[in-house]
Amino acid sequence: MTTASSATRPANESAVRRFRNRWNELSRPQQWVALIPLVVLIYLIPEINAPFLASTSVDFATSMFHAAEFAMIALGLNVVVGQAGLLDLGYVGFFAIGSYVAALLTSPESMLAKIPYLATLPIAMIVTMIFGLLLGTPTLRLRGDYLAIVTLGFGEIVRLLASIIPVFNGNVGLDNVGHPPKLLGQTFSNTDAKPWYWLMVTLIIVILLFVGNLERSRVGRAWVAIREDEDAAQIMGVSTFKFKLWAFAIGAGIGGLSGALVGGQVSFVNNQDFSVPFSVLYLAAVILGGAGNKVGVMIGGFLVAYIPDRFNSLGDKKYLVFGVALVLLMIFRSQGLLGARQRLLARGRQAYRQLLGRPEPITSESSVTPDGGAQ
């Protein structure tokens, strides 16, 4: 916010900034081409048993699937927390609903009609979006901090109902959740996480395109406006309630999708994996990576899932580690590893460069501060 804070940045960050600037000077197709090797590498990770990356205790492909799972969840939660600035502490509730939708519609132990597994993915998304709307409609009109407590309650209600209502089989759970048919020569089963990882990464790319486009559209601009100053946004004619509800529902849908995928991979769903600490881990992923930055939150998700898998002795202390990390991050680097940047969106960026002959300055602070913003 102040001039001093950005003037006294450490030197190592200027390298990051140089890279950022060079990256932003590339045109979009050039960026796409540059990303291809990275995407290929990400797809190949489970095939390469990198000496340091591979953990000793957990199967590497499974570990990478976990990381991808958390990256997807962080991406979904980022829409709610990072883009629209709504604190959702019950995200695990949506994840649980997604898992149960997939399980109820495919497991032989459920009494509902069976359908092919892949068809449950869109259904899981739609059902969780409906739950998102149901929860959001009464609560999004309230002050932000009430939303936090109500969503926290929602997450618990989902877990408790899964224990109480017989159709969910409580602790016993639903076994033999379905899986996709043989795709491109890959057999999906709960013993080999590799095909699941590839499916997950593919869906993450689809979500990235979808969310990225939303971000650059009217919806995304409305979200940023709401996040920065809700009253001002409303005065400027942004229908804040509608866009908050959108963010909430889209975030919920992505949570449901990831839940359905994990339910399929593990092939078993019961009421044990949906407690409040998970919501906090998801939040930790988003905050750690940098709320509002898609790439940042995926890195955050990767770290939150991968560190406990790699350093297995961490056990339950992972919650302690991430709890301390949340406090320290808020005090010392509240924007996370890669913060959301206040910047012009695609067209504006091109126009800026053509008019002024230099790339727009990008700060992690507000775009209207005298030292680094649009003059």
Partner: protein, 334 residues
Amino acid sequence: MHPLTAFLADGSSWITFDVSGFKAEFWSLTFDGLAYGAIYALIAMGYTLVYGVLRLINFAHSEVFISGAYAVVFTLSFLGFGGSPPGLSTPALIGDLLLAMILAMVVSGIVAVVLERVAYRPLRKKGAPPLAFLITAIGASFTIQYLIEWWRGPNAENSVIMFIPKPLFSVFGSNVDDQQLIIFLAAIVLAVGVDQFLKRTRFGRGIRAVAQDPDTATLMGVNKERVIMLTFLIGGILAGAAALFYVMKVPSGVIYNGGFILGIKAFAAAVLGGIGNIRGALLGGLLIGLIGEYGATLLGNAQWTDVIAFVVLVLILMIRPTGILGESLGKARV
């Protein structure tokens, strides 16, 4: 079989509408609900005070409370309490319990003040946005929970039974026992005490002034930082008292994450009564206690208690976002 029937009661009674049982037990449920509600109310006052002054949901308040509960268990174990009530004379018993309560108040008070110092004050100095405070609160809550888990392990502490409740008198054909009466009266006394403290003392005036307008209060010579510390301290002391009564009512309920859900329900109670309002916290606490007890019996499963508390919270927020008695620690806020 139609798939929908799976959702309906089929004799396995996961949900019942046991109206006759509810009617028969109504008064004993009421007395028990009031006792639980009194505990919620004591915790809710801590949330309400901090929220009134800082506009912050202090998520870690539940851990302030559970630290006090650990203090109670350790003190009483040290004094020879255990799985069966010790055969102490009444004055000796009261002395032991008072000692446990005072130690719990000290521990909870210290945890609350340290929390404020370490986690929240640096953010205030930076002028961080509200979301940052909330995330810090959650982080702090987790840190304390899992520190306790690291230290004491994932299981509940051995139960310490203080005394076996004896029926004192009966109202409408249902017995009121001494335990229920003690908890209920103690909560009322403490609530009145805090209310009067806020109303009549210099410190209380300071708290109300900061709640109303921090900047003007500072200009008028109120030491804002000290007021905030005092607010956390009072909240911690009340949580310490709640801890004693909680262990009295639920002797084996002291576990590292035992405060979390209780804390959420207490927060729901504070919102229900009107957050920032001490009387509201008392009223809300008692109501949440009653609603939980009634609901669990009516629906035939103790697990419904928490579900009902959350549903009530959402409903109240929809109809009356400022709670039953309204928000008014500073009288003129909002």
